[in-house]
Structure formats: C-alpha cells, structure tokens
Amino acid sequence: MLVVLPIAALLARAGNGGEGAFWREVSSPEAQAAIRLTLAVSAVVVVVNAVFGTLIAWVLVRDEFPGKRLVNALIDLPFALPTIVAGVVLLALYGKNGPFGIDITFTRTAVAMALLFVTLPFVTRSVQPVLLELDGSAEEAAASLGAGRMTVFRRIVLPALTPAIVSGVALSFARAVGEFGSVVLISGNLPFKTEVGSVYIFGQIQNENLPAAAAVSVVLLLCALVVLAALTLFSRARSRHVR
C-alpha cells in the first residue's frame, strides 16, 4: 500500500491531461534540457565508476597494505552519508573559498562530482565478491603460457568480472539519474545549464505545476527502470555464458 498507491497516483497524474499534455510537458525546452543533462552526466559518471570501481575492487581484493580494512569500510560512506551533507561538503571543498582554490559551483563538473560521490560504492561492491571467488589458476596458466599481464587481465579476468561490473553500472545509473540532495546546492540549478531532472521536478512542484512534474518524473523513472532491466538481463545472460 505504501509503495504501489503513490506510484499509481504518479502515473495517473502524468496521464491526467491526456497524451497531448504529457508530451507537451515533457518536450518543454527546460524539461528537455534537464532530462538530457541528467542522462548525459549520469552516463559519463557511470563509465568513470565502472573503471575506477573495478580498479578499487581489484586493489582491495588483490593487494595488501596497512589500513586496507579501514579503506574498505570507507567505501560504504556514500551509502551512509545523507545526500545533503555530501552536497554541503562538496561545496566547501570545490566551491569558492575551497582549499584547492578551484571553484566549480554552477558548473556541470560540479554535478558530475556529486554524482560520482554518491554512486562510488556500487560498482566496487558488486565486483568485490566476484573477484574474491575468482581462483587464480586460469590466470597463472595463461601467464605460464607467456601471456603478458595486460592480456591476462583482458582475456581472462575482465570477462569474468563483466556481469558484476554491468550490474554495478545499472545500479549506479539508476541512482545517478534520480540524485537530488547532493546536486541541489553545488550546481546552482541553472535552467538549461546545470539543472538536472530531479531539480526540475522539484521546481515544478514548488510552482504547483504538478502535471509537468509528474510527466518528467515518469520519464526519469522509465529511463532508470529500462536501463536497470536491460543491464540486469545482460549481466544475467553473460554470467550464464561464462559459467
């Protein structure tokens, strides 16, 4: 009851004005800009996450160094930290008066950084268990046959990891597309420049333009769900193949 009803209401409101109104709201220039920005930045962020997340998982599983347990625990920080706190802090670090002397407030880079922060754990946490399970015999065999380490990684390790990476990417994307709290401060929410979908929806709610908000919400929701479904199917098919 808690979950299904509100979603149904959302869909209903979005469709309230009929097909025409839905498309009108969704294709308003500001909405389009917001949606496109959200999808684009999320896609970039997700790719970065795929690379660095796997790298971090690799280092955490295959390497030894003092403080490793602490680092491992810290990976979950973005899960536990409220998004608004992340936003405030990113502003403190990379905004005016920040210690690094750079100011990225009101830029898309800021949006990307916020999204990178909140989606950090997904790929890493997805890849770690798989990496742990991987036994080294195939890699050692390849190495003894003369394969260089890059080749070993590319041909043996990476395919085994791909389903996990993909499912981590799917979760990252869904999270990034919907992110609000960490973005709302540092991006300045400039329409057409740094306003992401969730902020646009928020603005429409404030302006009592609920149909517009509902329409764009449905679009965002569909994007997240489609990507989630597609990537989950892909990763499941892949892991069956590898098995």
Binding site: N72, P78, P82, V85, G178, I205, A213
Partner: protein, 284 residues
C-alpha cells in the same frame, strides 16, 4: 563486507609486477582520498574552524534541537515498521508459494530506482489536497502533507527495502530443515518463528536495520517535497542543514552536517562489524 586478502597470482614475479601493483594502489587510493576523505575531513575542519563555542551555540538553537528530535522520531517510527514488514516480506518470498513472487520482489526494490523527489511527488499526489485521499483526509482533520505523518510516509518509503533484502539471502541459506524439525516436534507456527527462525536470521535483520536507520536519518529529497520545510515544525535534520545553508549560517549548517556525518560514521562501523558476523555465520 569482509574482504580476504588473496595472494595475487604472479606475486613477486619481478620488479615490474610490484611496480604496477604499487601504481594501481596509488591511483585507487588517490581517487578515494579525493572523493571520500577530503570531503569528510572538510566537514570537521569547517565546523570547528572557529572553535567550540559557535558550534555549541549552533547546536542549542531551538530549531536545530527540534530538527534533531524530529529526525529521531521519524527513524523511531519508520525503522520498526520496515523491520516488521521486511521480515514478513522475506518470509513470504522465501517460504511462501504463490504466483507473482517475482513481481513482489520488483516492488520491494522499487524505492531504489526512484528519485527521492519523485517519491515525494507521488505521495503528494495521493495524500495531498488535490490527491486521491486528500479530500477525505482533510475532512477528518488529518493533515498528511506539510506535516509529520507525510514525512513518516516518505521516510518509510525510501528505507523500505533494506531489511527485506538483507533477510532474504539469510533465509535462503538457512533452509527449512530446522523449521520442519520444530514442526515435527509439535511447535506451532509462531513458536517456530520466534524460537527457530528469528534467532537464525537475526544478524541479517540487524544489518538491514542499520542500513534502514542510516537511510531514514539522511533522507532529504522526499521529505523536502512532502514537508513544506517549515522551520521548527517540519524540518528533519538534513532539511535543517539546507535551511541554515540557504540563510548563510555556515556554522549552523556545518554543525548539523557534522552530527549527521558522525551518525553516518557510526553506521559505517556498525555495518562493518555486522557484515563480518553475517559472513562468518554463512560460512559456518
């Protein structure tokens, strides 16, 4: 999540292996430091930059205190609700037999895929003035949106899946043997649950509760939409942080942020300790 150290294949196979390992390590740690440690360090630095006195003052602001207790209240309602619900759903999904199990699983995971703002909007559409139940509720003098009940709903929604998701694998691993044994010995369903199932799944449940609590404490977007953000009345702690920030009260904002950050760190510690327990249980 406990991570065992495995010997890297080809370890010690010469200087280049070692160099690339150190290289990788540096890149990974550098990335993490930039993205994780710098922010956390920054909150503490900025808060205590001007000494303890302003911090103390900020903490004793009535609105701050109210926001804090409201957050606690939201958690105190949402977490037990979601725990009971989560265990129930887990039992239903793992021990029950009915069509549509997959669908139910999807519905449970839904709060993960939805933006918090959208959650708030959906709640407004149902319980708000123009909404489906809105008029009925207004007639009975029950305010949901722009007041605490709405915030409870929002908080409960976003923190819904955790207990269920953490309990399901544990239930699956457990298997029905002990429960069946109890049944043959004459135990009733409730007795079986209380004496056999629950103690076996308790670490999964506790881990889920910790995650739920963290999520509930930190929820911002959904509550923001639903509550109207009225100072001293409908601000939870994250909303208070934003409010202070927008009013250029940096110390107030950072102080509240530090409180939340400390709670987050406590959550991290709990998560880490507990995950080791659940892991070792499953290995046993």
């Amino acid at each position: 999540m406990s991570v065992e150290a495995a010997r890297p294949p080809g370890a010690g196979r010469g200087a280049s292996a070692r160099a690339s390992r150190v290289g990788l390590r540096t890149v990974a740690l550098g990335y993490l430091a930039l993205l994780l440690l710098a922010p956390v360090g920054m909150i503490f630095y900025r808060t205590f930059e001007h000494g303890l006195a302003p911090v103390w003052k900020a903490m004793s602001e009535p609105n701050a205190v109210h926001a804090f207790w409201l957050s606690i209240e939201l958690v105190a309602i949402a977490v037990p609700l979601n725990t009971v619900f989560g265990i129930g759903i887990a039992l239903l999904l793992e021990r029950g037999r009915f069509r549509g199990r997959g669908l139910l699983g999807l519905v449970i995971d839904l709060p993960f895929a939805i933006s918090p703002v959208v959650v708030g909007l959906a709640l407004v559409l149902v319980y708000g003035q123009g909404g489906w139940f809105g008029k009925g509720l207004a007639e009975h003098g029950i305010g949901v949106i722009f007041s605490v009940p709405g915030m409870v709903l929002a908080t409960a929604f976003v923190s819904l899946p955790f207990v269920a998701r953490e309990t399901i694998p544990v239930l699956r691993e457990l298997g029905t043997d002990s429960e069946q044994a109890a049944a043959t010995l004459g135990a009733g369903a409730w007795q079986t649950f209380w004496r056999v199932t629950l103690p076996a799944i308790r670490w999964g449940v506790v881990y889920g509760v910790v995650l739920t609590t963290a999520r509930a404490l930190g929820e911002f977007g959904a509550v923001s939409v639903v509550s109207g953000r009225i100072e001293g009345q409908t601000q939870n702690l994250p909303l208070y942080v934003q409010d202070r920030f927008e009013n250029f009260d940096a110390t107030g904002a950072y102080t509240a942020a530090v409180v939340l950050a400390l709670l987050a760190l406590a959550t991290l510690v709990a998560m880490n300790l507990l995950s080791r327990r659940t892991r070792s249980r499953q290995a046993a």
